[in-house]
Structures are given as C-alpha cells and as structure tokens.
Symmetry: C2
Subunit: 405 residues, 2 copies
Amino acid sequence: MSAEPFLREIGGGVCAARGVTASAVTAGIKKSGRPDMTLLCFDPPAQSAGVFTRNKVCAAPVLLCRERVGKGPLRAILINSGNANACTGKQGLQDARRLTQSLAKHLGCPPAQVVMSSTGLIGQPLPVGLMERALGRLVRSLAPGKGREAATAIMTTDTRSKEAAVEIELPGGGSVRLGGMTKGAGMIAPNMATMLAYLTTDAAVSSRVLLSALRKAADLSFNCVTVDGDTSTNDTVIFAATGASGVRIPGGKALGRFRAGLGRVCRELALAILRDGEGVTKVVEIRIKGAASPADAKRAGRTVAESLLVKTAFFGGLPNWGRIFAAAGRSGAKIAPERMSLRIGGVPVVRAGAPVEHWEAPLAPVLKRPEFTVELHLGAGRAEGTVWTTDLSYEYVKINADYRT
Amino acid sequence: MSAEPFLREIGGGVCAARGVTASAVTAGIKKSGRPDMTLLCFDPPAQSAGVFTRNKVCAAPVLLCRERVGKGPLRAILINSGNANACTGKQGLQDARRLTQSLAKHLGCPPAQVVMSSTGLIGQPLPVGLMERALGRLVRSLAPGKGREAATAIMTTDTRSKEAAVEIELPGGGSVRLGGMTKGAGMIAPNMATMLAYLTTDAAVSSRVLLSALRKAADLSFNCVTVDGDTSTNDTVIFAATGASGVRIPGGKALGRFRAGLGRVCRELALAILRDGEGVTKVVEIRIKGAASPADAKRAGRTVAESLLVKTAFFGGLPNWGRIFAAAGRSGAKIAPERMSLRIGGVPVVRAGAPVEHWEAPLAPVLKRPEFTVELHLGAGRAEGTVWTTDLSYEYVKINADYRT
C-alpha cells in the first residue's frame, strides 16, 4: 500500500468518526447465544450513500435500504445476523418496515431515518417479536468507542472482526476521521457470509458527493476481491457522514484526500475479508497489464481470479502457469498470445508468449508465501486493473459442504 | 434418455463405423510407459467437420486442425498425450506440420489429409524425434476393432475409457453406424485433461451437413457439461464420415435420424466425462425452465452449474436451495423472483418464490443419490435449457493441487 502522508491510521473502527455510537446485544436469533443484533446511531443524523448487491434475488432489507439510503438524513442502521430475510416474499419487507418503525419510535425519529441489514439463513421469516424485544436494550447501551464490539457482533462465519480507520489531514489545516467495519468470509445463501460494510465519517459531505466517492472506492476494493465468485442476495455497503467534526469537504484537493482516505479504508476492509476467507491459506494480487481496455483488464483478472484450476494451483504451490494463460484466454478479453508475459512475485516466467529459461527454481519459494502478486501482461493495449483472490483449499470445500446451522 | 426406436446401441466405439481402423503405441512421451500415441485411419478418406476450443490461447494442433478439417478428404488423425504442444510459439506449429507430413508419407497420402491432436503439459516443445520413430509401428498395427484400445490410449487423468456407438436404422431400410470416443476429466493446462472427442460414421455425408449436425450436437452435449468451468487450450471434437456403408443420408427424415444418433452418442460421451470427472461423487442435471430466451436459460444454467457454493452443497448433500436461487440471480438472466419455483429430484422445494411446506424431509434421500435433477423455473418466459454438472469434493482440490507429473 503506497504511503499517503496526509493519512494516519487510527483506532476506533466504525466509531472513529465523531457523532457515531454503537451497541450490540444477544436477541436470540442465533442458537449459539452470540450477539446477533447491532445498532449504529448517528447524531447529528448523517448524510448517506449506499451500494448494494446486483443479484436479482435480493433480500428485503436491501429493498428497504434502496428506498431510504441517500434520500434524507439517516439516524440509525440496525444489523442482525442469523437470518437473511431473503426469499421471504412480501412478509419479509413488512417485517423490515415494522422493525425499523419500532426502532424509530425508541429513537424518537421518523421511520425513514432508520434502515436495516440482515445476514444468515435464507427462506425463513424473521423472528420479529424476539428482535423487537431487544431494541430497547440496543438503544440504551449505545455509546461511542464500541467499534470493536459492533464489528464483532456482525460476524457470522468470520473468524475475526474487521475494522479500519484513518484520520485525514486536509490541505487548509484541520482534519476529519473516516472509519468502517465489515463482515464476510466468502459464502452465501442460505447460510450466507454476506459481505456487509459500514463506513462513517465526521466530515460534512453531501450525499451526492458521498455516493460518487463510495461507488469509485467500492469498485476498486469490495468489487475487486473474490473468494468464490458468488454474489450474495444481501451484499450492502453504506457510508454515513455525520458532519460532527464541523469540517466541510468543499471539493478540489480536500475531496481528493477524502477520497484517498475512503479508498484506503475500503481496501483494508476488503483485503481483511479475503485474509479471513473460508479455508484461505493464500491471498494473491492479480495485476493485469497491457489490456485493450479497463473492462478487458477486469474481465481477464476476474476469470484468472475465479478459475478453480488457478486457485487449486495456488493452494498446492504448483508452478502451473499454463492455467493462468488458459483462464485469460477464455475470459473474452482481447489478448495477443505472442506478446503476453507473466511475472509471479516479481519472477519472470513467460516473456513474448514463451517460458523464460530457468523460471522454475526462483519461482518455488514465491509460491510458498502467504501473499504474492501475479502480473499478467495481455500484450493487447495499455489498460490495467487489479483484483485480489484466494486459493481454494480442502478446508473451503469442507466448510461449504458441511455448513448448515 | 428418451428411447428412439430407430437407434440401437452397439459396441466398437470409434471403430464401429466401417472404414475406420485404429492403433495405439507407447512412444515414450509419458514417463509412465503407458500408450501415448494413437492413430485413427479412414479408408476411404472421410468427409470431416470439427469444433474447437474458443480459448484464445490455443494450441498448435488446433491451429493445424482448423486449416485442414472439413477442407477436403481426411485420411488420418494422430493423437498424442503427455504434451499439449500449447504455448510453444512458432516451433509448435512447425512440429505439428512435420509430424503430420511424416505420417502422410507412411500412409502414402497428401499431408493435408492428416491432422493431429495433443494433450498434456503446456509450454514444452514436442519430442518430435521420439514421436516420428513411433509412426511406422502405429501404421503397421492399424486394424478395425481397436476402438477400446484407442479410447484407452488417449486417457490422461481419466480413470476409465469412454466410448459409445449406435446403429441407425434409416426410413427407407438400410442402416448406418456412428461411434465415438472421448477423453477428459475436468482439468486443463498445464497438465490438462483436455476434452478431446472423435466421432465416426460410415454414412456418406457431405462435410457441410456433418458440420451443421456436429455443431448442434456438440452444443447440446459437450458444451453443456461442466466440471470446473475451465476451457482448455486444446479442446477438439472431430467428426469423420467414411461413407463405407455405401448409404447416403439424403436429408429429410433420414437426416433427422442421423442427427438423433449423433446426439445420443455425443450426450453419452459428454456424460461419461462428467461421471469420470476429477473427484466427482455426484452428477446433476440442471434443467432451466421459464427463461426469457434460450440464451438466458443457458446463462442461468451455467451459473448455477459452476457456482462453488452449489457444487459444495451437492457434495455435502446439503438442502441449501438458496445457493441455487442466488446463483440464478447473479447470472444476468431475466428472472421473476415471485414466480420462481424449484424441484430437486422431483421434490417441490420452492413455489411462487417461497419455500413449500415440509420440503426438507422428502429432499434428504434425493440429495444422497449419485445422480439427480434440479429443475429451476425462472418465471420469466417459456424458453428452456439443460446443463450437466458435478459436485466439488475434497478429492477435486487434492487432485488439482497435487497434480504435476
């Protein structure tokens, strides 16, 4: 990660931004007795923006978020694990409305200022009664400094909580904070480890600017990582700006730094998901160069990143570079085989479409590292793109063949 | 498989058709000492048609086949395992030309009447000298009735040989034979179990009609099975018609039966590949109904068929139907969630977008079967499509993480 001198990593996660409080309780949705309801609260109410799953089978809370996020000030986000409220028909949306309405009453704000996310089993009605009874406790225990607690309570198959935050020094002096938390470990419905992420800042930013910054940042982070290529029905990223720092981001250089801070936090969270991916033993950065267009770079990168043969080769530490070429070749991206080249962990393997001499010995130690970079040049143009992927291990199969709670 | 009264399954595989001889020898390309060169010979020379990998990283023998197959009578097909002759630059194509030229000399025919296929390691030059020395033995041992021997010699990671043949009774009396062999077990470069298939008939058919029939049949068979979604650099299907039965296929009803016979043989061979897929414990037929278009049906079917989460659920025998819905939802196919329905092995699971009552108990025994059908209705139209897939087991990961000979 390149050093940006105006960014300083800080603690606090999603609560690093002033004006953000959080709480988490056990409502009993999960049988395990672990915390399963989380609340984020914004005071003053926040400007907001969201990006959501493109899956056409999309869960009720996502429909609700699409109605409300970015449409007016946001007071609170309710998050539950243990039940995805997906494939639950009209009842699902009614349940989500009822819960946000009850929560709004507790908080003394209009229902339109409250949204929710759900993650867990598909096709089962939400235990609304149980959840409503927990709302009072959630509201009473709201406090700043509970970023870790919140990040822990949204975990499902995750093995560790995932948070990040930075302080952004602005060009004219003064600074703002930006933090976030995420969950997700690679699998989806009906026991989904949906990718959920919540980002907060105490900068004063309009929802329009937030949305544009969020789209770009999500596209270069969450949308560039893949564990198994499956898109959940519930994927959600929400970005809320309380403005509690009193510092406005006017645009220009300040906005550039703000975007850089957002980019950093999103990338850290996205990579944290990969590193905690189910059965993951390796994280690999796939850099595509020499593509005919950015879309081609992404296409080739994703196809390499999602190839089972490439992923099993990473797991086995095999120098089977032909699998990488074959994946790029079937990706639909324009390629010039005789001009293609490949470096793995900096070691030249293929040049001008043919293997270099003695590539195998220097490659062996690279393939044993837990993280390395694959740089594939398509020989077809000047565009570039990066995606991050993982290996595919016995453990991934075991987790996903056994997992039903 | 529906019974077609005019088709009779027969033995003989690729040599079932009159005018086809075969042989196989150990040339020493593979270190194992197993047969690694195979020859199919046509007398009289055959009309031919071929379909090849769409991978843009495509092996030298495929380039050679594209030049020659369907362009004039075909006398012989040479097939080697142990070396894919892919990513071998100009040298690769020169080597393939030289070998087919030498073989043509042995057979006393023009080089343009000889083609070859290769399967094995990527990025290594063909051992041309070794292979040339084996040509005489290959030609001398040509004989009819060696279908099984040929099918066995083209195996790589396959655990059993794969052949099929039918006799087709024609409307006006008389009959023709159509047979074939295939290899492939799911993985590709650089130790690829490339999908290679060779089909023969003793009917007299023009190369134009052969090609149209082959494209359709391959599209409904080889192009509809997936083990890991990876397309090899060397995939090849060649169909050769010797005409040795003396029976012409004039078109009309006779052509319909001929196509049905071809379809049957291709489907059997394609399913044989799946059943012998690496680490496969289950073969599942995915039938998509209610799609807005045939392309949408295929898109949804393939996305479900290739989802790691769906495949691991099949392996574990898990009733995680939400994974099937989520895969269809991200496929890009048009869907109407509230009209979608799902049956697994005939058991209704979802109706009108919501789970039916008591679906779980009747489903349990279905998911233990080695083969069953998933029928997913997208609620978006009237088009249909079928793809076949496998589960994803520990063994698949093991084979592909360890495999480098």
